[in-house]
Amino acid sequence: MRIAVEVNGERYEREVEPRTLLSDFIRHDLELTGTKVGCEHGVCGACTVQLDGEPVRSCLMLAVQAGGRSLRTIEGLAEDGEHPLQRAFHERHALQCGFCTAGFLMSLEPFVREKPEPSEAQIREALAGNLCRCTGYRGMVEAVGQAAKELGGG
């Protein structure tokens, strides 16, 4: 099937098999390998991208279902790689191996945009949809608080 999608503001048209997962389409067909695949059963969240602005698991969607829709991936989070979340993740040592990082950032971006002063419990709940095996999450909790504050009201 032929589909057209917009990814990070760019339009792509590709021929895909119906069974191609959106995660594989993004990574292999569009060569946007910043999105990672960790479990392909919807638990780990590494493949999280934004579909029309909302975080979704790209391993639980077929590429054909993204036809006519707009996607945003880690490559499109910030043009200069300086989204406050990215900066805060760096400063707070919120990543180690980095395999889960893109999924966390794409999940958290709406959260820090919409919640200027989240409580620690709210932050932890917002983080809970993604798994990290390295960090123990503390750096992320701090980073999300920092980024939310920075973006507060903005």
């Binding site: 990672k36 960790g38 780990c44 040592h93 889960c100 983080l127 809970a128 095996r133 503390r138």
Partner: protein, 729 residues
């Protein structure tokens, strides 16, 4: 993200909590993990795996054809071309000759064992074709329970001191039987390899999601019978390993053969379903421990029998964790006599191997649970019992034969108790418990290497034998090198992960990177620095002892300076160092407070305290990250994780839906502090920190759980079912 390291040249860098300069690439989505590599002409590999825990393989029939199918490999295609993976045998042990075959020949011994490999144009097509491979099995009886196994793969025993006499004269003998279940390392990136054979040069290049380059290189050389010059191993970004990517995966060797046969690059990117059944697991040990105690609480002797569920074959490092556990069974106590035995038995499960701690968490759990049980038997406070037996003088030779280099165990314990705060009482809703556990761990040993060169532009390139998979080698080693060379860290470039570029080493495992790899870096840059001074002295025509390092480069006594590029122009400056040392021994004290809901048995860890002595800390921010990450894996082991099998040895926890990793929402406050007792064995004074959290946490939580239950013992994971039953007992 620009790194704001910006330390003035010549300032102290070791000991500073600097954020990692390697983050920017990852945060922007520009990391390159194995499955991100797509060379032209890439073909994909999928495996046919055994659905049975034990069966004879009567026949394997490849399909006549399938869309996109390029090749099918079975044991027959490998015959005469490969050897099974080598087996490492720990000192003093007897190991069986039961290596892991690359592809099953005649028999399968665990669910998930590779039987055939299918190469096709895409992963999906390879999976389609794999379904068409006909395998005829004849089911055999599997062994799921290690107690029911009569096949010993590993045997080891060491006795020292008058054990019999100590038990005879003991005022009290206390202990118990303690078990740690099998665990899945579950790095977020599963394993994988991409192989390409260049026929003109007869060079086989294997990109491997691995902990280092030189173990895969050695294993591939052994398996393929190929000299090292015709092999190159490249380690791209690695999405976590925790021990599970140390030995070469049998599947990676099959990918290499497939690449040779197909004449194209071939990639095996392991998926999560495969990782759960086919990647070696950790732990799976239990022990019967007895402590002989004097009336005043002095520990006179320890006796332990460790039973390890090793699984179906011996992978290269399968025998190592039980040996490490056994060797640490005297812990941080002055126990004069010990009798420790290990029996590693065969079961029809995927083999075990190193997983974060690799024997250390088991030893700490076995011994520290026994110490708490002993305290209860003696009606002594468990902290006081520990205090009376702590090793105070170093070096200390343990009765089991390892020499602890340095430490301050009492200070670790005192600090942990301070941070843990006062004990709380039970409430109407919950049983509250507090547990303390101490540990001593081995790290380092053997050798690592580094090569430092001064480039024409004045930058220093350091190539290291140990390589990163999340720890932060780049930043840490840059701190070490820049401080010693009196240059800006931005002028130090670290290179890792390509056997064609980096010098060979032992490997990145067992918390050894800073102590061994970092020391090799230190030695290499020290030598390079010396060469710089000599060269500058020659160029400036000044005595060597007058040359100093400054902002501008090197300066003579009269103020004339020479920039590093000018030094570099005088000739290629390069220094290689191989650093070798005995084992170093880190230690720590952990405390946990738990609450068990009376009505349901649900466990909540309220607070965790971690005090670790890893010698000199190069970067406290990253070291703390290691402690927290390890502690959370330890908490996962307590709260949720267990690789389970039914009585037919079928895995029953083979996805993240059934094997839960903790999320951010389950993590209690963790207070982490360091004590620094420098090791006398290396130029940095460093020990290991990568495994600390995973070692101390389960033992402390288990002691807290037992404390809450009035001394009853429960093994992890502490599920509500188990605890509810324990409350009712």
């Amino acid at each position: 993200m620009t790194s704001e390291v910006g330390s003035p040249a010549g300032g102290r860098l070791v000991g500073r909590p600097l954020p990692r300069r390697e983050d920017a690439r990852v945060l922007g989505g520009h990391s390159e993990f194995l499955d991100d590599l797509h060379p032209a002409g890439l073909a994909h590999l999928a495996f046919v795996r055994s659905p049975y825990a034990h069966a004879r393989v009567l026949s394997v029939t490849p399909p006549r054809g399938a869309p996109g199918l390029l090749a099918v490999l079975t044991a027959r295609e490998l015959e005469g071309r490969t050897r099974p993976l080598p087996i490492q045998s720990p000192e003093g042990s007897e190991v069986a000759d039961e290596p892991h075959p690359l592809l099953a020949a005649g028999e399968v011994r665990y669910v998930g064992q590779p039987v055939a490999a299918v190469v096709a144009e895409s992963r999906a097509l390879a999976e389609d074709a794999a379904e068409l491979v006909g395998v005829e099995y004849e089911e055999l009886d599997p062994v799921a329970d290690p107690h029911a196994s009569d096949l010993e793969l590993l045997r080891w025993r060491r006795t020292a001191g008058d054990v019999e006499g100590a038990f005879r004269s003991a005022a009290r003998v206390a202990g118990g039987r303690y078990a740690m279940p099998r665990l899945v390392a579950a790095p977020m990136e599963a394993r994988g390899a991409l192989a390409y054979h260049d026929p003109a040069a007869d060079l086989l290049t294997v990109w491997c999601s691995a902990q280092d380059t030189h173990r895969p290189l050695r294993h591939l050389g052994h398996v393929l019978g190929r000299p090292a010059e015709q092999l190159r191993v490249v380690v791209p970004d690695v999405g976590g390993a925790f021990g599970s990517k140390g030995s070469l995966a049998p599947e990676a060797a099959v990918a290499a053969i497939a690449a040779i046969d197909v004449g194209r690059p071939v990639k095996w990117a392991e998926d999560r379903a495969e990782n759960f059944v086919a990647a070696y697991q950790g732990r799976g040990m239990e022990a019967e421990v007895e402590l002989a105690l004097a009336a005043d609480g002095r520990m006179l002797a320890v006796r332990a029998r460790i039973l390890a569920d090793l699984g179906a074959y011996l992978l290269p490092a399968t025998a190592m964790p039980p040996h490490t556990a056994a060797m640490l069974m005297a812990g941080c106590y002055t126990i004069p006599a010990a009798d420790v035995r290990v029996s590693g038995v065969r079961t029809n499960k995927v083999p075990t191997g190193p997983y974060r701690g690799a024997g250390r968490p088991e030893a700490a759990y076995f011994l520290e649970r026994a110490v708490d049980d002993a305290a209860r038997a003696l009606a002594l406070d468990p902290v006081e019992l520990r205090r009376r037996n702590l090793i105070r003088e170093f070096p200390h030779r343990s009765p089991l034969g390892w020499t602890y280099d340095s430490g301050d165990y009492r200070r670790c314990l005192d600090l942990a108790l301070d941070l843990a705060g006062p004990r709380r009482a039970h409430s109407d809703e919950g049983l509250v418990g507090r547990g303390v556990a101490m540990y001593v761990e081995r790290a380092g040993g053997s050798f690592e290497a580094a090569r430092a060169t001064l480039e024409p532009d004045g930058r220093v390139i350091v190539r290291s034998s140990t390589s990163p998979h999340g720890q932060g080698h780049d930043m840490t080693f840059a701190q070490i090198a820049a401080e010693r060379l009196h240059v800006d860290p931005g002028d130090v470039v670290l290179e890792f992960g390509d056997s064609a570029l980096v010098p060979g080493g032992t490997g990145t495992f067992a918390s050894r990177s800073v102590a061994m790899g970092g020391s090799a870096v230190a030695r290499a840059v020290d030598e390079l620095g010396k060469q710089c001074v000599q060269t500058a002295a020659r160029l400036l025509d000044a005595p060597e002892d007058e040359i100093t390092w400054g902002e501008e480069g090197l300066a003579a006594g009269d103020g004339r300076t020479l920039a590093l590029p000018d030094v570099a122009a005088a000739g290629p400056l390069e220094a290689t160092a191989r650093f070798e040392s005995d084992l170093v021994f880190g230690s720590g004290a952990y405390a946990a407070e738990v609450e068990i809901e009376r009505a349901t048995g649900r466990l909540t860890v309220r607070r965790l305290t971690a005090v670790d002595d890893a010698g000199t800390i190069v970067n406290p921010l990253l070291a703390e990250g290691q402690v927290l990450g390890g502690a959370v894996q330890g908490l996962g082991e307590c709260l949720a994780e267990e690789a389970t099998y039914d009585d037919q040895a079928q895995p029953t926890s083979a996805s993240f839906a059934d094997y839960s990793l903790l999320t951010a929402a389950e993590i209690p406050p963790i207070a982490a502090e360091f004590v620094e007792s420098p090791s006398p064995l290396n130029p940095l004074g460093a020990k290991g920190i990568g495994e600390a959290g995973a070692i101390g946490t389960p033992a402390a939580v288990a002691n807290a759980v037992s404390d809450a239950l009035g001394g009853r013992h429960v093994d992890p994971p502490f599920t509500e079912e188990k605890l509810w039953r324990a409350i009712g007992e």
